[in-house]
């Protein structure tokens, strides 16, 4: 045909490619003909376009080629049959393979669940993008920046009224409890004093009433639905409760303004009641002061502002508005949605927090999955090499490469499928335990169709990727060689598998190293001498006790069994929150900005906590002037620049006094932070009782406390905490990570050992004859063991050398978040290395010894 303008080539070829042969003539003919007609009537362009368009329109199942695209189900069923025969014949191999993979998948699945749960936090409010939390940077003259999560009360009004970026601002205090009388018992609710704007910022829906009364009347309250159920009973919904009075144990009466829906559990902001902040200010007028950084501040941005532009807008709100004093204190805005995971500030900059653990665990999950996949690949390759005779015969019988590949791939995919089913079973069984371990409430409702589809996709890709190498390798073997059973013909194959083993052991050694380090650091944290004795100390709130009744209480308690001492303070000395830049001493540079932590105690405190005095004396209750005197710690003394601090004047919060003692430094916050300057004063209104029990008499002491509690405060529930437990609880996330890493390490070890096992069994099998001949020639057992072992030890050494720097960098990075930490010394590396070594020996030992003990006659007769 001599056509000057043939139809578009690409479209034509596409048509030929997909079109069924029987239909090609008529379809192509018709299209050609029409193209030809169009060419003369409508022009080249339109004709070509139409042709292409029609080719695409013909692209539908009815015109497709059928023969090559359909899967031959008969062959497939044969593959599956053979696969199950292999599984049955090689039970141990199938089990280790499936088990190893299932273990890896289960681990990753748990991490996925955990991470998923973590990411859910603080996403619940409508319009969450506009909701922000206000923090303050306090810059010391030394250049150190402290980031505070608390702000002063007057700031709220200023932010809301003067700054266009802020649509609404709400303030809450750090939390409060409300004890309501309900016969015969009490209902204890935890909530806060908060400004009513909170409900508008977070769009919290109400079931009954609303929050409007909170604006007008300080003695009003809103409660959550769960609080309503607890207080009014299950049938509260059928009654109209708005306007009712709620009276607490201290006879304070509040008018119920509304009942709001429960706050979702994935939230950093949780409360069961809100009493207007105005009420709080009414009873604590000092909270109105600009200098009292005590409150949480939530703001809603105006729609046209981003986080950054709003932050620019309000940055200097404190310095621009504080009337009484010059203060820089720039504000920071943090999106509410990130509060949970990003909670650490360093030098005024956000520097991670929980998100570090989320990342760390995600990486471990991926590593473990890779480890399991590699292991699967390794085992399959090693085992398929043993089936070279089968492959050879298939080839001789005329099987083509592609069908052999398909066979091996089918086996691999079947095996991953089994592993997936097994891991689904593991996950469901272990989920309750995991929830306890991680402190979560994950339901099994994550088994959604999407989730199953997603994981099936993942499983299939693992199956295909890890089955690909063995499939291609086996299919490419020369039939004669494979019939002869010559397996070591391929050097690159052996190298490949060795590489995989080294890779596995690098990961395993890093994980062993990591879990040892985390364990040791936590041991260090828990056993560290804090400079005070937190053992056998019970914390209990003052409740209704006044300072006078406390004295009587104390006298009585001291006479009871199990009690060693009783002291009082305004907070847990291992976790002091309040601080001030107010103190003035002679010689203080006006420009010096430095924050002192403040602890208020009674005279029994220092001896009870076994805090060492470096110089000076403790408070004495018989010296009246001591209520104005101070004890400082070493850091404070050096900041104040006193060579001899005793007797020097010190003034803060309008109280002039003298320094009467200097304590040695003790930790007043977590070990993440360095020692901080501290001032201890006598407490006119303590809120926390510290009771030291006699060693091994805790039970008796608690019983004594309870007896006395019933006598003094019959209305209150008896509630106490052990100080060392509270201390340990502050390292919860570290503990969790430590436990999870431990489990992961075990899983990694198991998987890697499985990999090693497969390699050693493969190797000894290949060397059966060599070993037999050596034995006939008089080789000793030792020399044969070293023949087998050498190779592996070399691999482990290589892995160790590669893993060490990696492990060092990762763990040093983790340790850097602690101001007080252990050193990564050689012994840690040795420990990790030696345990790797021992594992190797244990794993290969059985095989090696069996090979060495084998009767050489059997080995040589093998054909």
């Amino acid at each position: 045909m001599n056509n000057p303008t043939p139809p578009p080539k690409l479209a034509d070829r596409f048509l030929k490619w997909y079109c069924h042969e029987d239909l090609l003539d008529e379809i192509q003919g018709d299209l050609y003909e029409q193209y030809h007609n169009n060419l003369s009537t409508k022009g080249r362009r339109t004709a070509r376009q139409k042709f292409t368009l029609d080719v695409i329109r013909f692209f539908r199942p009815s015109s497709f080629k059928s023969t090559k695209l359909t899967v031959n189900t008969q062959i497939l069923s044969n593959y599956i049959k053979v696969a199950f025969r292999v599984f049955k014949k090689e039970k141990a191999y199938t089990f280790t393979n499936v088990f190893g993979l299932a273990l890896g998948i289960t681990c990753s699945l748990f991490i996925y669940l955990w991470v998923n749960d973590e990411l859910k936090y603080n996403q619940w409010p409508a319009g969450v993008d506009g909701i922000h939390y206000v923090l303050v940077n306090q810059i010391e003259s030394s250049g150190t920046i402290h980031t505070w999560r608390t702000t002063p009360q007057p700031l709220r009004e200023v932010l809301q009224d003067k700054y266009p970026a802020i649509e609404k601002a709400a303030i809450t205090n750090w939390g409060a409890t409300l004890i309501l009388k309900k016969d015969p018992d009490h209902v204890t609710l935890s909530g806060h004093y908060g400004s009513p704007e909170l409900f508008e910022i977070f769009s919290i829906p109400f079931i009954q009433g609303d929050h409007q009364l909170l604006y007008k009347q300080p003695e009003s309250i809103v409660i959550s639905e769960s609080a309503a159920t607890r207080y009014f009973g299950d049938d509260w919904r059928s009654k109209n409760l708005i306007g009712q009075s709620i009276t607490d144990k201290n006879s304070r009466t509040f008018t119920l303004s509304g009942i709001f829906e429960n706050i979702p559990k994935h939230s950093t902001l949780k409360f069961d009641f809100t009493i207007p902040f105005d009420y709080y200010v009414l009873i604590n007028p000092s909270q109105k002061h600009w200098g009292n950084y005590n409150h949480n501040m939530y703001v809603k941005l105006a729609p046209e502002y981003s986080t950054a532009s709003a932050n620019d807008n309000i940055r200097n709100a404190i310095s621009e508005n504080r009337p009484d004093q010059q203060e820089t204190a720039p504000l920071i805005l943090q999106p509410f949605s990130s509060l949970y995971l990003h909670n650490k500030y360093e030098q005024g900059q956000l520097s991670g927090g929980r998100i570090d653990y989320v990342r760390l665990l995600s990486i471990s999950a991926i590593l473990i999955l890779i480890l399991a996949g590699v292991n699967f690949m390794n085992l399959t390759t090693a085992k398929s090499a043993k089936r070279s005779k089968e492959t050879g015969i298939r080839k001789v019988m005329g099987a083509v490469k592609s069908s052999l590949r398909a066979q091996f791939l089918t086996e691999a995919i079947l095996m991953t499928l089994l592993a997936f089913i097994l891991s689904a079973f593991f996950t469901m069984t272990l989920l309750p335990y995991f929830n306890v371990l991680a402190g979560k409430e994950i339901d099994s409702d994550f088994f959604t169709p999407q989730f199953i589809l997603g994981s099936l996709g993942l499983i299939l890709s693992i199956g295909i990727i890890s089955g690909l190498y063995p499939a291609f390798y086996m299919a490419s073997l020369h039939p004669i060689l494979s019939l002869k059973g010559i397996m070591r013909a391929d050097r690159s194959n052996a190298l490949f598998r060795k590489g995989l083993v080294v890779f596995q052991f690098v990961i395993t050694i890093v994980m062993i190293f990591g879990s040892i380090t985390i364990y040791k650091q936590l041991q260090y944290v828990f056993s560290k001498n804090l400079g005070l004795d937190r053992e056998n100390v019970v914390k209990m709130g003052f409740g209704d006790l006044t300072p006078q009744t406390f004295e009587i209480y104390r006298e009585k308690l001291l006479k009871m069994p199990g009690i060693l001492g009783v002291a009082a303070s305004d907070g847990d000395p291992t976790n002091i929150g309040s601080s001030t830049s107010d103190p003035y001493w002679v010689g203080r540079d006006e420009k010096t900005e430095v924050y002192f932590s403040i602890l208020a105690v009674n005279s029994d405190f220092i001896p009870l906590m076994s805090i060492q005095l470096k110089e000076g004396r403790n408070f004495d209750r018989s010296i009246a002037s001591d209520s104005n005197n101070y004890i400082i710690n070493e850091v404070s003394a050096s900041i104040m620049g006193f060579d001899d601090p005793i007797g020097k004047d010190l003034e803060f919060w309008g109280q002039k006094g003298k320094i009467i003692g200097v304590t040695k430094n003790f930790h007043i916050q977590s070990l993440h932070a360095p020692y901080k300057p501290l001032i201890i004063r006598m407490d006119p209104q303590p809120s926390l009782m510290l009771i030291k029990t006699k060693p091994n008499m805790t039970q008796e002491a608690i019983a004594s406390m309870e007896t006395l509690h019933k006598e003094f405060q019959p209305d209150r529930t008896f509630d106490f905490t052990f100080m060392d437990k509270a201390y340990n609880d502050r390292y919860k996330s570290e503990l969790l990570v430590s436990q999870l890493t431990l489990y992961f390490t075990i899983v990694a070890i198991v998987i890697s050992c499985l990999g090693l096992l497969s390699l050693v069994s493969f190797n000894t099998e290949i060397k059966t004859k060599e070993i037999g001949i050596r034995k006939v020639m008089g080789a000793s057992m030792g020399s044969i063991l070293s023949l087998i072992g050498q190779e592996f030890l070399v691999l482990i050494i290589i892995a160790f050398v590669m893993a060490s720097p990696l492990a060092y960098f990762v763990m040093q990075d983790w340790l850097d978040q602690f101001a007080f930490r252990i050193d990564l010394d050689v012994s840690l590396f040795l420990l990790a290395g030696i345990s790797g070594f021992l594992l190797t020996l244990l794993t290969i030992g059985h095989h090696a010894i069996r090979a060495a003990l084998r009767n050489p006659a059997d080995a040589l007769r093998d054909e």
Binding site: L24, D25, E26, G29, Y32, E33, Q34, N37
Partner: protein
């Protein structure tokens, strides 16, 4: 009714096959359709309709001659079957009956 039912496009195409009688294949049907109705239709669409009619047993087909325009490719030539003719005739009869009863539209 146990008989095959056909849509209006199918009916039109079937009528065209009946009327044309000779050399009935994809492109010629398209041209005839366009000249009779003034509407355009694509070749893939015509193929679908013809195939459906054939499945319903209303037309039969055989492979026919090739031309140079077609690059030497054969055509599938269609021919109406008795069943096809009957269904058209039945449809016409039904409609004629109905038209008999239709009142005159005065406004036209």
């Amino acid at each position: 009714m146990n008989e095959t039912s056909i849509g209006s496009l199918e009916e039109t195409i079937l009528l065209i096959v009946l009327v044309m009688q000779e050399d009935v294949y994809g492109v010629s049907v398209v041209e005839e359709y366009q000249s009779r109705t003034g509407k355009t239709i694509s070749i893939p669409a015509i193929h679908t309709v013809l195939k459906r009619l054939e499945q319903k047993g209303l037309v039969t087909s055989k492979m026919g001659g090739a031309t140079t325009e077609r690059g030497g490719r054969k055509k599938r030539i269609f021919e109406i079957t008795k069943a096809g003719y009957k269904i058209l005739a039945d449809l016409k009869a039904t409609r004629d009956d109905l038209w008999e009863m239709a009142p005159q539209f005065k406004t036209i």
